[in-house]
Amino acid sequence: MAAFTDEELKARVQDGYIVESVDEMTEGYRKALVVQLTVQADTELMSAPSYWMAARHAPSTNTQVSAHAIIQDELAHANIAYRLLEDLGESKEQLVYGREPHEFKHPYGFDQPLDNWAELVVANGFFDRAGITLLSDVYQNTSYGPLKRALVKVDMEETFHLRHGEVWMRRLAKAGGEAREMLQRAVDWMFPMTLEWFGLPDDLKRHSGQLDYRLKGLTNDQLRQVWMSSTVPLCEGLGLKVPAHYDEQSEQYVLDYPFPCQYDAEAKHWLFEDGEITWDQVFERWKARGPMNEIYVESVRRSRGTLEGWLN
């Protein structure tokens, strides 16, 4: 039984009140938190097979080790997030093993194949940076105590993933030639992919309650700006072209391409030339899921049925 009405709880958390257990939540608060944690858990989980299949492109045993250390972290992060969901009355079993692949809530970027070492390290540099951007905002602002504490470990390890990405982007850029071209091609599709990940712009955003319940602090557009404020200077410093720049007058990063726009997943190519599309068209593409969706989901759970039968 909730101790507060929805309005009381919203007012309390805006004042810094920390919720510690499901007994103190209103149904609205619980539902908003479940949505947020499901996206978080699914994103961590799906990053693992995506990075795992890419790790075979590692150029040495040492780099294999760092790539697999990252994968191990992601699986632990997923486990922690699903465990938090269980405390809210959700079933980890159902979430991981009971859903269709297209029902997972991870971003479209983790439905794409990572086909070479450059794509893996740009994923670390861009996608893990997006993860840090989103999760450190949650860490700083969330009103849910158990999540805040769990994120200490996650943020610490995400920072390592990001460093791995940046160090390798620098190495490939410095090498020049084919290595640099491969890096630029990865940046070309992965930069717009990450920007889209942050979702609807603020002027179109339906009310989600995540800000009212203090489950996060920044809006989608603000988070996009935070991500670009690190990523654009990084790329410019390495001489990599990105379709965004800093505008002195508005003191904001602005995009140099139609946003949002259509993506050809087969060719790994954004159709800038076809101009802007609607967010409904983006949601349609996300809903249809990308080329690796089923392969990634099945790869993390294919042995479940057989082994279960033997063990019980």
Binding site: S21, R83, K92
Partner: protein
């Protein structure tokens, strides 16, 4: 697979308090030790322990994650 919750406690260094750092689901204590060590590997812990959640008896609260044993709990 039937699993139960094990709470994980650890301290970084001598002289530091044992802190609740998270939890794992495991079918038994032996696997809970392995899962905890592999999941919470962000530090070189001086000491780590796992406790079955069912063994935690709350003293002053009747709600929250340990509420199942709130009424006196296991004798």
């Amino acid at each position: 697979m039937r699993e139960e919750v094990f709470d994980v406690f650890a301290r970084k260094e001598r002289g530091e308090p044992l802190r609740h750092i998270g939890y794992v689901d495991a079918p038994d204590a032996a696997l809970a030790r392995v899962y905890a060590w592999n999941t919470y590997d962000e530090e070189r812990w001086f000491e780590m322990c796992v406790v079955p959640r069912a063994a935690i008896i709350p003293v002053n609260r009747t709600d929250g994650p340990f509420a199942a044993n709130a009424k006196g709990g296991a004798a």
